[in-house]
């Protein structure tokens, strides 16, 4: 076992699958010789050659759409969108084309593509470099959307994504890239897509989060414990499809829920999760389900970032509200 950061775990997963499957191709802007602007593909071109790991011209719509053509010919493309805010340039390719090929071909063809992209706030990058746009892709049937919160999960989930026969949007929170290390096996392993993980068990309230907000939720749970409140923390890991069974199990136990997302509040993942809970577990609820989310504005400028981003204090506050309801 080795101690790895999330970015190292991601590189390791890519290396593992480039070795395992000659149909895996990694491409995007600056991913070749430069090894990616965040170093996610460091050393991969040198190891696997320019045919398998290559730089593309600066054009996202082409990067994503070309992946579909490759996939139809049996490859497993892993295109990178340099920052997820630039996915707007590639939205038709992803949501309009890649996501729908299985349906359109009457099940005779599929698009085993993994679109990797960094996103997320708290590292002082400005709007469109930091936006949480998972809701945009989660709305599209045909796509799976994966967001790991730990190095271990990042490797296992990325390997699963690359082996999946449906397209996966794999979002990497920039704040987690190098924020901590943990034990990551050097050998291959998978983490199942669509399965949440209970990161901390508790009995009084369930905190549901993904990405960087998992860590804020764990911190909130620690603080709540000091006040005698036992919080359970669920890390969704896959935001589409969500693991509703794990959520419902937890709701049955706690009866109280707060859903946390880093994105602005309007029409986001949290709203969807709240609805799923009230449709499936309303009789187990002791209080309305509340949300923690960022305000409905464009991503905040640096000086306002800390104020804008949801923090563990916001989570504590909402947890107390559902408990004292």
């Amino acid at each position: 076992m080795a101690q790895m950061t999330m970015i190292q775990a991601i590189t390791d997963a890519l290396r593992t699958e480039l070795k395992n499957d000659e149909n895996v191709l990694v491409f995007g802007e600056d991913v070749g010789q430069n090894g990616g602007v965040f170093r996610a593909t460091e050393g991969l071109q040198a190891e696997f050659g320019e045919d398998r790991v290559f730089d593309t011209p600066l054009a996202e719509s082409g990067i994503a759409a070309m992946a579909l053509g490759l996939a139809l010919e049996g490859y497993r493309p892993v295109p990178e969108i340099q920052f997820f805010g630039f996915v707007y340039e590639a939205m038709d390719a992803i949501s309009g084309q890649i996501a729908r090929i299985r349906y359109r071909s009457g099940g005779t063809q599929s698009a085993p593509i993994t679109i990797r992209s960094p996103f997320g706030g708290g590292v002082h990058t400005p709007e469109l470099h930091a936006d949480s746009l998972e809701g945009l892709v989660a709305q599209q049937p045909g796509l799976k959307v994966v967001i790991p919160s730990t190095p271990y999960d990042a490797k296992g989930l990325l390997i699963s994504s690359l082996r999946d026969n449906d397209p996966v949007v794999f979002l990497e929170h920039m704040k987690l890239y190098r924020s901590f290390r943990e034990e990551v096996p050097e050998e291959e392993y998978t983490v199942e897509i669509g399965k949440a993980e209970v990161r901390r068990e508790g009995t009084d309230v369930t905190l549901i989060a993904y990405g960087a907000m998992v860590h804020s939720s764990l911190k909130a749970a620690e603080e709540l414990e000091k006040e005698g409140i036992s919080a359970e923390v669920i890390d969704l890991r896959t935001v589409m499809p969500i693991d509703i069974d794990t959520i419902v199990e937890s709701v049955k136990k706690t009866g109280r829920v707060v859903v946390i997302q880093e994105a602005q509040k309007q029409a986001g993942m949290a709203s969807y999760i709240v609805t799923e809970i009230q449709e499936r577990a309303i009789l187990h609820l002791e209080a309305p389900v509340l949300r923690v989310a960022a305000p409905d504005t464009v991503y905040a400028f640096t000086q306002a970032e800390e104020v804008w981003l949801p923090g563990y204090n916001d989570i504590i506050e909402k947890a107390k509200q559902v408990i004292n309801f």
């Binding site: 802007e29 600056d30 070749g32 010789q33 430069n34 090894g35 602007v37 730089d55 011209p57 600066l58 054009a59 996202e60 719509s61 082409g62 920052f83 805010g85 630039f86 707007y88 340039e89 002082h124 400005p126 709007e127 469109l128 470099h129 305000p295 409905d296 504005t297 464009v298 905040a300 400028f301 640096t302 000086q303 306002a304 104020v307 804008w308």
Partner: protein
């Protein structure tokens, strides 16, 4: 007026025949030098932790300033990209404005500290704000030209972008529309040979970016982007055509990016040092100064005076920006929608 250079060969006055006075070319040089010095100061400020980010104009000032001087800077629109310190200075942005945006202070006229540094925009100087996704400004420039045409306004819409960015669909879509409708747009590619780490050879297969013009039914020319006079002349011709209703032009200015892509980049992993050193010998700021000296209008005295003045302008602007307040975090809620039926 024909002067001689140090080797006593006759140096031709190249600006007079272009209709540029001695004062104008000296002013061109002053803005190029100012842009360079501002950029250098920003790197120092970044490396000392005072400003978050720099994305440089270094190596592209000659193209930026040469082009701007060929436009009517009281009427025309500019849609610059993040390296265009030379363009925005020529269009009236001040050193203080630039420092305020580098520090992302509330008073920054570009966006009140909301935008990434280098995302220039200033309504009063007809500098149209862009955003981070490259090339998005290109169709915007076409829309402005279309509006001008419909309103019978005499203006040219000048838009710049990198050669890597010329691969985006936005370029094709904008250039095509402008070509079909013969709109007064000047598309200028600042070809600095790299898109972050990706060299020109991996970006395009055509020999010259300007070769693309034929596909849009417009003239395309490639000029030496280190020579502000050559760029001036090409842009002047394009502006004259645009004003006469003869349509858009594509101009490729050949330059070289003298710095890493940005303060977050390390270019040693993808380009050789001697390639950069060779490019430095052709640096337009140096070669244009030599020309001006050789024809005798940039005297030692004038040069010293210019350097002193620029240093003090930059010192003052830096001090001012450093002391200026940041935007209040509460203002984040503003400008998402119009307020109270207002603007």
């Amino acid at each position: 007026m024909v002067k001689t250079d140090r080797s006593m060969e006759v140096v031709e006055n190249r600006h007079k025949s272009l209709g540029l006075s001695d004062e104008q070319v000296i002013e061109m040089y002053r803005i190029m030098l100012l842009a360079r010095r501002i950029d250098e100061r920003m790197w120092l400020l970044n490396r000392s932790g005072k400003i978050p980010f720099v994305v440089s104009c270094q190596g592209q000032e000659a193209a930026q300033v040469g082009a701007s001087f060929a436009l009517d800077r009281d009427k025309d629109y500019a849609l610059p990209y993040y390296r265009d310190v030379g363009v925005v200075l020529a269009f009236g942005m001040t050193t203080q404005d630039l420092m305020l945006q580098a520090y992302a202070k509330a008073e920054d006229p570009n966006s009140g500290g909301r935008q990434m540094p280098g995302h220039f925009g200033q309504h009063k100087n007809r500098l149209v704000t862009g955003s981070s996704p490259v090339t998005t400004q290109v169709p915007h420039a076409v829309g402005i030209a279309l509006a001008a045409r419909m309103e019978k306004k005499d203006l040219v819409s000048f838009v710049t972008f990198g050669e890597g960015s010329s691969n985006q669909g936005d370029f094709h879509e904008g250039a095509n529309f402008a070509g079909v409708h013969k709109l007064p747009v000047i598309f200028m590619v600042e070809n600095n040979q790299y898109a972050i780490s990706v060299p020109l050879s991996k970006q395009v297969a055509c020999e010259k970016i300007s070769d693309r013009a034929i596909g849009y039914g417009m003239p395309g020319v490639t000029v030496d982007g280190n020579d502000p006079l050559e760029v001036y002349s090409a842009v002047k011709e394009a502006a004259d055509r645009a004003r006469k209703g003869e349509g858009p032009s594509l101009i490729e200015a050949l330059t070289y990016r003298l710095t890493p892509h940005s303060s977050d980049d390390d270019d040693r992993s993808y380009r050789e040092r001697d390639e950069v050193d060779r490019a430095k010998e052709k640096d337009g700021v140096l070669t244009f100064a030599s020309y001006l000296r050789d024809i005798g209008i940039l005297t030692e005295e004038l040069e010293k005076q210019m350097n002193d003045e620029i240093s003090s302008i930059i010192d003052d602007a830096t001090d001012y920006a450093e002391r200026a307040p940041y935007a209040d975090a509460d203002t984040i809620y503003r400008y998402v929608y119009g307020e109270q039926g207002g603007e």
